[in-house]
Chain length 418, copies 2
Amino acid sequence: MQGNLLYAQSGGVTAVINASACAVIETARKHKVRVLAARNGIIGALREELIDTSKESASAIAALRHTPGGAFGSCRFKLKSIEQNRAQYERLIDVFRAHDIRWFLYNGGNDSADTANKISQIGKALGHDVTVVGVPKTVDNDLAVTDCCPGFGSVAKYTAVSVLEASLDVASMAESSTKVFVMEVMGRHAGWIAAAAGLAGKSADEAPHIILFPEIPFDEAGFLARVKATVERVGWCTVVVSEGVRNKEGRFLSEVGTRDAFGHAQLGGVAPLLADLVKRNLGYKYHWALPDYLQRSARHIASKTDVEHAYAVGKAGVEYALAGKNAVMPVIVRTGDAPYRWKIEAAPLGKVANHEKTLPKSFIRRDGYGITEAARRYLEPLIRGEEAPPSGKDGLPKYVRLKNVAVKKKLPAYAIDG
Amino acid sequence: MQGNLLYAQSGGVTAVINASACAVIETARKHKVRVLAARNGIIGALREELIDTSKESASAIAALRHTPGGAFGSCRFKLKSIEQNRAQYERLIDVFRAHDIRWFLYNGGNDSADTANKISQIGKALGHDVTVVGVPKTVDNDLAVTDCCPGFGSVAKYTAVSVLEASLDVASMAESSTKVFVMEVMGRHAGWIAAAAGLAGKSADEAPHIILFPEIPFDEAGFLARVKATVERVGWCTVVVSEGVRNKEGRFLSEVGTRDAFGHAQLGGVAPLLADLVKRNLGYKYHWALPDYLQRSARHIASKTDVEHAYAVGKAGVEYALAGKNAVMPVIVRTGDAPYRWKIEAAPLGKVANHEKTLPKSFIRRDGYGITEAARRYLEPLIRGEEAPPSGKDGLPKYVRLKNVAVKKKLPAYAIDG
């Protein structure tokens, strides 16, 4: 087919966003369509910094399926509205025209769906037809319409496995050493990842014994009482806390501590703060962990379901684009829980953009400290299976680094003024 | 053979200490010897809290090979010298006599080797012959005589893989977001784990760009200059810091910060402290991670070499004990680097006890911020291969929980006064 397809990654990357990239390029190659990739996301598109993926071997592209991070670079950059910065949209279309971009696939979260939706409208108006498709991705699992978001299943699995493993460690040592272990997980606005930690244990005495969700205001006395009761009953206690947990006034817990009691706020981390609270009030020896980027880049323990989702949305994204379906996003539709079944459907970008899927109330146990059976039914299939990356003789996963050959620029330089 | 074998785990547990337990029990069963296990290590032996492992199925014992943590519980408890607390040693021998313990296998680090050595001398004097064998284990890799310590290879692999993965994430985002990533690793006295992080990258521009070892006094100006140069050259910078890094006066960096500049010391964590230092001096956006127990319990990414070592020392430990070799420890002897070859030999406990194997100077690069080729030759075989645990339908590794059936007590209660 005539013309090129532009692919761009957006926002925080995941363990499987490159599986979507792999699918995009492999599918486009089958249709003899050349894929250009924007270097560092939409910033690269604006700067005309494009990468020619046709310079990469088939095996390099295949290896993207098991390589974490963003192979072409991503960015945190939101285009303003067309009214506020029409020049930015015009520049994008200029770049599209200069490089014969007929299809644009934007791989990201909420903001990206919104941006893709806007671009899908402006092309025709500016005299360059381009079919725009959003490809879902976010560890936050907060996209509307889709049953889940590629990237979430793997961070969910990493979190559940880590809680399980670290808790076996704590249990071994509790008699004479650490009694309380606090692990902080991502999720500033919603407790999806915190909820996934709940998969590590099935009964009340199994870890995690306490989950602190951003959806439930932090109750210090209630929390401490529960830690104490757990240590007295089980011998030790594992706490999983979302970075987004807030006090009753709605302020992030990590920001309200005074220096004396909680340390310098800018150092961040609600886990050390809670651990210190436990120590001062209950006297228990503690340890705490904050895996940060490790949780969203841990391709070595990625969920097979998640990898398959990520690949499927990339593949469908190209098929929709080539079929001329403008302003849509391939979404994951769940058609069964047991056995887990799913399919891909096209959803209008307008329905996805600017909505946020929150953790349903029915997923949080009534006491506020754990997950329900409904949550378990939803979450469990998403962490199922592994698709381990091949391992090298050096003991490391064989992750690919692309050549990322630049496409020759054709336009004058462009300064991004935001 | 007549009599029972007692097995006890000691000190911080690892991802593979249960592989040694598995080998001990499987090997003893082959010789028709019953294994009792001390609940929570030597504390359980003193309290006469023993577990009858003959109540466990062959498949449960086999599953120990891939289950992290300490299956019978461990403890941080060091017996005093015989002169200081002879009663404790007498109590141990009383318990051994009451339960016909003819062989004692103590699975731990430096302190445990020392304790095992003492017990090996006292039995005969107290009229109860017992053959004592130490089984090596420590993520700190600081045991003398043995080429490496079971437990270290897996934390080394976890660390190298995590640095590699998180750095791919940082690299993707650096254009518009995080430029400096700091990851803190264990190793209060020696930089073995920090050194292992160096395996993640092979060239100067690959992560980790900076490793801070406990062996090298922290030089703030030099560190900041290096971060700046790295960000300007590479675009981003990954720093791995050992929890044991010290200033020029020899004090732990995590303990010397003032409240204003570094936050509350008790909250711990040198990673947030360094990240804050970078932010205040260079203005770069940062992220930091502190995996804590996750690093030493991550059986899902354990090194195959390490699992094999752990099993081999457990097996040899039983064989030595049954052969009446008293006061020895099976150690790992390296017989070749390429291909990597090793064998097990018996070393006198007295040679192992109370020595500390430090990171050789020749393993740290002259500039103090990275590892040498000699370090790489030593470390690489230790992280090679995987032996992934089986995965359940729930997406979690199938880790075993033993029944841990208690042996009926025969002696009066005993209060441990330390």
